[in-house]
């Protein structure tokens, strides 16, 4: 049976656990940092020598840690792309912009256990020869910023930060930077622009890969809050031990934000892939099932940008049989293991690990209209397909929800959405805003058509009848 597994949130919710330094130290805090700083040079069989930082980077690779911010990209690999020969400083940025609708995990760490994040960051900085790091925190989390600033002050007082950290000769400074309230500031290059004091217009890649031309055009690492916390545990446990948590290629734990129409919404930390979607929704230890008399309709499995899943959907998942041969196993949506790879095979993603559950009381058209309003508001407006498409989709959906739909609106909407993703935009917001529309339409098209048809029928009966029998909706004057 699936269980919670508390690695990151081990102490956070214990009664009496407070975010201050003393409490953190009482619970074994900063031991991993001390261990990391003291790593002796390691001799390899081939005569090469590995410095402490190199060993940590190696270990992060061995751990299999994948980014917790959304894309699930290998953390070790990301670090290996950093240009270490440029002679420029290397920066590290903690992405604490947590704005993906449905997601509320990073703030648990920030509010309740800030030193865990800071320790993870210091180790990550040490491992990457970083002398200056930033925590970019969402503007709407002023309390989090206050707590982090307090924690940084405490860490400086203990010489975990500052000059000559714990006598090792290593210097590191760290600052909290508050965003001004835009979802796009979570996109790493938009974040970097914002940190530089500019409008958060995401950068084109090539050439502006953060690992080469990031903050101030210097090599930069951007990692999510939870990702960076995990680095601390990798040092404590060793990469190999860490990799035993979770499932192969989907190692460690994840904090799942569960919301929507379940009895017990909240955040649950699990070993990656050791609980299924169904368990997370229905198990009394997790979501506790739907409300009485309700049936499951849809699941958004990885934050609002991920493609929706429909109740009853079946997928072919790759599994290994007894002899280790790869076979395809038909799997119900509720039996999908909650991990990176299974959800990818189901055509969606675990994204920011935020599950939004919808039961049969939900108006699908209205739900999508709600999402699309968010994206139309948050598109930075830099590149054409996303800037114009996000608002177009929203205007169409608002029209549909206001009873001015047309039968053909489902197809119309689909074509608008198809013009946005797939590398046509500067950043992944293009996918984020169009995937929900594409997937809602793919899976619930009948509801969109029915809505448009009902509106047409009602218009046909109206006495004024101007639009009777036509399929053209009343259009506001241009």
């Amino acid at each position: 049976m699936a269980q919670e597994y508390k690695l990151i949130l081990k102490h956070a919710d214990e009664p009496g656990y407070t975010p201050d330094m003393e409490c953190y130290l009482r619970h074994g805090g900063y031991q991993a940092l001390k261990k990391a700083l003291a790593l002796p040079v390691k001799d390899l069989p081939d005569g090469k020598k590995l410095s402490g930082p190199e060993q940590i980077r190696e270990d992060v690779k061995v751990s299999g840690l994948r980014g917790r911010g959304g894309a699930g990209f290998s953390c070790g690999l990301k670090w290996s792309f950093v240009d270490r020969k440029s002679g420029k400083p290397i920066y590290l940025i903690c992405n604490a912009d947590e704005s993906e609708p449905g997601t509320f995990k990073d703030r648990q760490i920030i509010h309740k256990d800030p030193h865990q994040l800071i320790e993870g960051m210091i180790i990550s900085c040490f491992a990457n020869d970083v002398k200056l790091a930033y925590i970019y925190i969402r503007g709407e989390m002023p309390e989090g910023a206050r707590i982090l600033n307090q924690a940084l002050k405490e860490a400086r007082a203990k010489n975990f930060l500052g000059k000559n950290i714990l006598g090792t000769g290593y210097d590191l400074e760290m600052h909290v930077h508050r965003g001004a309230g835009a979802y796009i500031c979570g996109e790493e290059t938009g974040l970097i622009e914002s940190l530089e004091g500019k409008r958060p217009y995401p950068r084109i890649k090539p050439p502006y890969f953060p690992a080469i031309l990031g903050l101030w055009m210097c090599p930069t690492i951007v990692n999510n809050v939870e990702t960076l916390c995990n680095v601390k545990h990798i040092v404590t446990l060793s990469g190999a031990e860490f990799a035993k948590l979770g499932t192969p290629n989907n190692t460690g734990t994840r904090i799942v934000s569960l919301s929507g129409q379940v009895k017990r919404p909240g955040y649950y930390e699990i070993e990656v892939g050791k609980a299924t979607l169904g368990e997370l929704i229905n198990d009394p230890k997790f979501g506790g099932g739907l409300r009485e008399g309700r049936r499951l309709k849809a699941i958004i499995p990885g934050g609002s940008s991920s493609k929706v899943l429909k109740a009853g959907e079946k997928f072919k998942l790759k599994k290994k049989d007894a002899e280790g041969k790869e076979i395809l196993v038909e799997t119900d949506v509720l039996d999908l293991p909650y991990d990176f790879d299974s959800l990818a095979q189901a055509g969606t993603m675990s994204g920011s690990s935020a599950i939004i559950v919808m039961d049969d009381s939900v108006d699908i058209v209205g739900a999508l209209a709600n999402l699309s309003e968010f994206y139309a508001h948050e598109s930075c407006g830099q590149c054409t397909p996303c800037r114009e498409g996000s608002l177009w989709m929203n205007r169409t959906l608002q029209r549909l929800t206001h009873g001015e739909g047309r039968r053909q609106d489902a197809d119309y909407l689909g074509k608008i959405a198809d013009n946005i993703p797939g590398g046509r935009t500067i950043c992944a917001f293009g996918e984020a805003c169009s995937w929900p529309v594409q997937s809602f339409l793919a899976k619930f098209k009948d509801e969109f058509v029915a809505k448009g048809a009902a509106d047409e029928a009602r218009r046909a009966q109206s006495i004024s009848g101007a639009a009777a029998g036509t399929s053209v909706a009343p259009v506001a004057p241009h």
């Binding site: 835009a182 090539p206 054409t384 800037r387 177009w392």
Partner: protein, 581 residues
């Protein structure tokens, strides 16, 4: 601020390695590196490779002289690269050619570097569909007010819509409305609804003009170009944003609603407002000039010009232009005046004539004046005209042809130092005849004794002592000019000349660029290009025939003037040749 590459006199660049790529199946060689907007060598991008292959890739935000931002997405293409096997060696097709792995995702050609063996596909159904998608997106909220839009006829949105768009719109929602006729600054109007948010104007203003004046406010589809509140958009380069704007969002207050672009005749010319010599196009119709726009010349002005130079054309059409030949207060004719002048000059004793020319005259004209000077043993000079320079284009020397005056021997390196001698000569009665070309000399004259005083305390010397009073002592004051002024009013002979836009000729810029310009409009009345009547006069006075056309004059001059040796009118091309100065 960084002026784009403006000089040819750089040391020869090291040879750049070539790589082979294919554009729509055709193999071409392209350099691995190409100068970017700032002149720095950077990896060649797909769009540059396509340009070299003469394949058009539609684009809005990309501009060769501006930093790349990749925001319009119009230039998306598909591409493939040689497939590599597990051993990192190229995989070969059965026929031995390298196997190409097609990228699953498109790329913006303006920002993606090419690599050896890359294949770029600009004509696939997917590319076509992506272009249609971008155009549709650009058009849904566009006001489509082409009938009253100044850009119509030279609008990239119109052009690409025809070439790459769809004819029908499926958009049925309400359009986004934004401010129209926004007064951005003294010379610029913004129609925010027409703006496609390519940010060219922002980048030009920030990265080329060095003025962080423009930005974007709001989000998403509501994005709008704006200035800081209360800070008008006002630097000496604002009108370039009208040129780089691919649509009719930014319009010139001077030009808007004046003339349809397609009615304009475009004539290659050169700005005459300073020694930089920005290359321009003169837009005219029915002998009226409507606008100047910059013309690309990487050795001089890149793609830009200053606002002051651009708007300095109105005087050409002034009603009070000199249109007649006047001799001693009586209307005369060219033949009569030239004959009389020729006779007079032929008989003038050596040293009794002085010439004050203008460094706004062409090389050919100054050279003809220098011929008179030689024959008459005349003192000569020109009038310096100084202002402030800036870091981009404007030169402190506000004469367009100072170097022409120097190289033809009309003045010394330090222009204006002979003026004192000329004043003294007139005062002493030695100089009886003064020929003045294109300068209202009285304007900056200061009474002799006062000027002497000033010189001793070393003040500006572009004032001189040739006052109206002094001119009264002359037997003959021969003046050619374009507009009436104090000096023409004092003249015994008034010879109406032509504005540069009304004639052909060449100037030598501050950096030694010899550039030719063409005739856009006719001079009014009997006014004639100075070189025309000067060559007649020279012919009569010296007996030399230097030819009847600007070409032959130029070519003869090039043979005689050391600095111009080897040049020909034809070899100057459209963008000129740099000579040693």
């Amino acid at each position: 601020m960084s002026a784009a590459a403006t000089t040819e006199n750089k040391p020869a660049a090291p040879a750049i390695e070539k790589i082979k790529v294919k554009v729509d199946g055709r193999e071409i060689e392209v350099p691995r590196l190409i100068a970017d907007w700032s002149g720095k060598l950077t990896p060649t991008t797909m769009i540059q490779a396509c340009e070299l292959a003469k394949t058009e890739v539609p684009h809005y935000c990309w501009h060769p002289k501006l930093p790349v931002v990749g925001n319009c997405r119009m230039c998306l293409v598909e591409f493939g690269t040689p497939a590599l096997g597990p051993d990192r060696k190229p995989v070969l097709n059965p026929d031995g050619t390298p196997k190409i792995a097609k990228s699953p995702r498109p790329a913006i050609s303006c920002a993606t570097p090419v690599s050896p063996g890359m294949e770029i596909y600009t004509k696939t159904p997917a590319v076509k569909q992506m272009r249609e998608g971008v155009l549709e997106s650009l058009l849904i909220n566009h006001p489509l007010d082409c009938p009253i839009c100044d850009q119509a006829g030279e609008c990239k949105l119109q052009e690409y819509s025809v070439d790459y768009g769809q004819s029908a719109s499926r958009f049925v929602e309400a359009k986004v409305h934004k401010p129209k006729a926004v007064d951005l600054g003294p010379r610029i109007m913004l129609d925010a609804e027409r703006c496609i948010l390519c940010t060219r104007c922002i980048r030009f203003t920030r990265d080329i003009a060095g003025d962080d004046a423009l930005g974007i406010i709001n989000r998403g589809s509501y994005n709008t170009i704006a200035t800081f509140p209360g800070a008008p958009f006002d630097n000496n380069y604002t009108l370039n944003t009208v040129d780089v704007c691919p649509v009719g969002a930014l319009t010139s207050k001077d030009f808007r609603f004046q003339m349809r672009a397609w009615f304009l005749k475009e004539t290659k010319s050169v700005c005459t407002s300073c020694a930089t010599g920005c290359n321009i196009l003169i837009g005219s119709r029915e002998e009226k000039i409507y606008r100047y726009t910059p013309r690309d010349n990487d050795a001089v002005n890149a793609s830009w010009m200053c606002d002051a130079g651009r708007l300095n054309y109105k005087w050409i059409g002034r009603a009070d232009r000199l249109q007649d030949v006047w001799v001693r207060g009586q209307k005369s004719s060219w033949p009569a005046a030239i004959r009389e002048l020729a006779d007079k000059l032929k008989q003038a004793p050596a040293g009794s004539v002085a010439i004050i020319a203008s460094a706004r005259q062409t090389n050919e004209e100054l050279w003809l004046l220098a011929k008179l000077k030689a024959r008459l043993g005349a003192l000569s000079d020109a009038i310096p005209r100084e202002g402030e320079s800036d870091k981009l284009l404007v030169s402190a020397d506000r004469n367009p042809n100072t170097n022409g005056a120097r190289l033809t021997g009309i003045c010394f390196t330090e222009m204006g130092i002979n003026l004192v001698k000329i004043a003294d000569g007139i005062a002493s009665g030695k100089i009886k005849t003064l020929i003045v070309f294109g300068e209202n000399i009285v304007k900056r004259a200061v009474a002799h004794d006062k000027l002497r005083e000033r010189e001793t305390i070393s003040e500006v010397v572009d004032e001189h002592g040739i006052t109206a009073e002094l001119l009264g002592k002359l037997d003959a004051l021969i003046v050619s000019d374009i507009l009436p002024n104090e000096t023409t009013r004092l003249a015994h002979f008034v010879l109406p000349g032509a504005a540069p836009a009304e004639k052909r000729g060449t100037f030598t810029s501050g950096k030694g660029r010899v550039q030719k310009f063409m005739k856009a409009v006719e001079a009014p009345g009997v006014a004639r290009a100075e070189w025309e009547f000067l060559q007649e006069l020279v012919h009569h006075v010296t007996g030399q025939n230097n030819g009847l056309t600007v070409e032959s004059l130029f070519n003869q001059m090039a043979r005689e003037v050391a600095a111009f040796n080897g040049l020909t009118w034809q070899a100057l091309g459209d963008t000129g040749v740099t000579v040693q100065i």
